[in-house]
Amino acid sequence: MSNSTKVAEATGRKARRGRKNAFTSKDRAVIAGLVGGPTLLHIVFVWLPAIATILLSFCQWDGIGGINNITWVGFKNFTQIWTLYADFKVALRNNVLWLLVFGLIATPLGVILAYYIDKNLKGTKFYQTAFYMPLILSLAVTGIVWDYIFRVNGLVNSLLGKDTTHAIAFFGDPHKNIWVVLGIASWRHIGYMMLLYLAGMKSVDPSLREASAIDGAGEWYTFRKVIFPSLRPVNVIVVVVTIIEALRAFDLVYIINRGKNGLQVLAVAVYENILGESARIGWGAALATILFLLCLGPIMVYLYQNFKRID
């Protein structure tokens, strides 16, 4: 560690201590309230249910009656989900596909759109609105709209002149439906990513661009080497959002066919197993725990890496 950092750290510590001493007891009470209140809510409504879910994943329970009706079964739910539950592997595959399509296609497309719109081309406002439009609708509404477009007696099949018996099975064919759904999800995701990057680009200091132009850098080179790296805070958000959106995918699939015919995703599998009169709480909780770990893992690694570098 260099001397200068040591000095910086020391002064930082001193500064912090100094500030702390400046607080009156009233200030401290206000701060405690402002920090403690949300923390308490967060613990009660996020962490306790999450921990309860993890605990329930080790049990068999139909959700009726008290805790004394719970049978603890250890890791049985997890081993059976892996060995017996064919839908799990389908769901896992679909969530991974979702992540790959979002990460490799939808998000880069969003960046490209943002890049061009940021250049204030003719009709920028129109494009901006058009691409952002899908985000105004909730995913559930999006699902219903696209269901009417692609269902066997829907718009596309009608335009193709195919009646119900000869229609193209967009959602019924396990080889096709996930790609159709990913197309729909991307349609929405691209606009979201575009918006995030557009906001980021607007905040990039124009002098950076000028300096780079003066130095003779081409437009694309400037974007790659100057603009994009300066968008790091946006990149962090985008990566986290993309991972979460891909893993928590629920609405579209649920609306279209409740995860039947090879369209299953983890979130729908959790829902379908926990709800209903034949509730398999333990089984569903085990699926939810797997989903939770999947979401947590990559995000924690990414955030840790990023903030470590920033520090």
Partner: protein, 442 residues
């Protein structure tokens, strides 16, 4: 129309040690076929004391689709006219079904729509229903032994008031069959059936419309082919887990089913039952194996008059056409009914009476009622349903009523879709058995 639960059904009789045959008799009488001509009118209702009537009774209903909702409104109006203070809470059908456990454990309505059979017994066993022996003391004379047994929990107490029922069969349009030169009354054996399919195909139609988007719709076809191939007893053993899915007889059922595939629409997994039924209505397809609620999409009376049914054809002559599926719908009292017991039970007695039936009959003339005192149906389609059930020796529930719900809907429904999507039946059967074995003890 209440899609999924329109086929819910009767009780798991074996658990009660009641023979299937007595249930059949029950259903027949309920159909009004052997009904006495005495009409007791509002017998149940008139017995409710004036004081009890003033208390509000809330009714939770899953009948959110337009046609059944009209039935609800009709009988609630009749109950109000009879002096009851009824508050009807209609909830979206799927939401109601999905949340039933938490609903019954929370603050449920006093009376709620439900189904006879495993599902009723399940909640009775869990202590989430109020027993209604005193209601049955009033309405008992209006129901046959089969219905009485179908309304009892495993503890022998009454928990359920049956209202309506309907059978499953092969639905077709008379004009379509006539144009293709097919005589439905001559379709007895499997060869007859396939020959009829060929004729319909030659006439440019899709012979059989099947939709299995939800996963449950094709269970009806599976049940029938299994009855016809391996007999009623094997089917009941299989659904209850006494027989194994790896039994070679299961493969015989799948093999027989496969002979129907060349005559079926291609996009089975993309159609729900209404979309498949619409193909029959629009004369694009010849027939559909469906519950009698198939009729609910026929809005034009002329189309409805053209609708008919025939029993699912025989496969093995040893078993003939002796079995049919005919589920029962009705009402139960939740635990909250304890707070206004006399009013809730008074309303339950009303629902069991002919006053309920007559009110519903006015808006839904094809409904078949469980109450023995309801007049015999005059509608031809309704009569054919009664006749169909009369001709059968065994009455089954629907697959998801004869089997554990945690097996039927998530596991078996998926397996059927896999099979209809071209999956290997041997692997599917093996997987089904493995998943059955992994379920917690019932």
């Amino acid at each position: 129309m209440t899609a999924k639960e329109k086929r819910e059904n009767m009780s798991d009789m074996e658990k009660e040690g009641v023979s299937r045959r007595s249930v059949i008799k029950g259903s027949l009488a309920g159909a009004g076929a052997i009904a006495t001509s005495t009409v007791l009118g509002t017998a149940g209702a008139s017995k409710a004391s004036a004081a009890a009537k003033k208390q509000t009774v809330s009714v939770g209903s899953n009948q959110s689709d337009p046609a059944p909702r009209k039935n609800d409104q009709a009988w609630v109006a009749a109950a109000t006219a009879a002096g009851f203070n009824v508050k009807l809470n209609t909830v979206d059908h799927n939401t109601f079904q999905n949340q039933i456990s938490s609903y019954l454990q929370g603050t449920p309505d006093n009376v709620f729509t439900w189904f006879a059979g495993y599902r009723m017994q399940f909640f009775a066993k869990k202590g989430l229903a109020t027993s209604i022996n005193d209601v049955w003391a009033k309405i008992g004379s209006q129901f046959t032994a089969g219905y009485k047994n179908a309304s009892k929990g495993l503890d022998g107490k009454y928990y359920f008031v049956p209202t309506t029922w309907y059978p499953w069969a092969v639905m077709y349009r008379k004009s379509v069959f006539a144009a293709a030169g097919v005589d439905a009354s001559k379709i007895i054996t499997w060869d007859d059936f396939l020959a009829a399919c060929k004729k319909l195909q030659a006439a440019g139609l899709t012979p059989i419309a099947l939709g299995d988007k939800g996963g449950w719709e094709a269970m009806g076809t599976f049940d029938f082919i299994n009855f016809r191939t391996n007999g009623f007893q094997f089917h009941m053993d299989l659904t209850a887990g006494r027989a194994k899915w790896t039994d070679p007889r299961v493969q015989k059922t799948f093999a027989n089913w496969a002979t129907m595939f060349p005559y079926q629409n291609k996009d089975v997994l993309d159609l729900d039952w209404q979309a498949a039924a619409t193909l029959v209505l629009q004369k694009k397809a010849g027939m559909q194996v469906m519950g009698a609620f198939h009729a609910s999409i026929y809005t034009d009376p002329a189309d409805l008059a053209d609708l008919a049914l025939f029993p699912f054809p025989q496969i093995d002559p040893k078993y003939g056409r002796e079995a049919v599926e005919a589920p029962i719908d009705g009402y139960m009292l939740s635990t909250s009914a304890a707070k206004n017991a006399s009013a809730s039970k008074g309303l339950a007695a009303f629902i069991g009476s002919t006053a309920y039936g007559n009110a519903v009959l006015k808006v839904s003339p094809t409904s078949l009622f469980s109450n023995s005192n309801m007049p015999k149906p005059t509608n031809e389609f309704a009569l054919s349903q009664v006749k169909l059930v009369q001709s059968c020796k065994y009455i089954a529930q629907f697959f998801d009523r004869d089997s554990r719900p945690d097996f039927a809907s998530p596991i078996f429904a998926n397996a059927l879709q896999k099979y209809l999507g071209g999956g290997d039946p041997v692997a599917i059967a093996k997987d089904l058995q493995a998943q059955w074995d992994a379920l917690p003890p019932a």
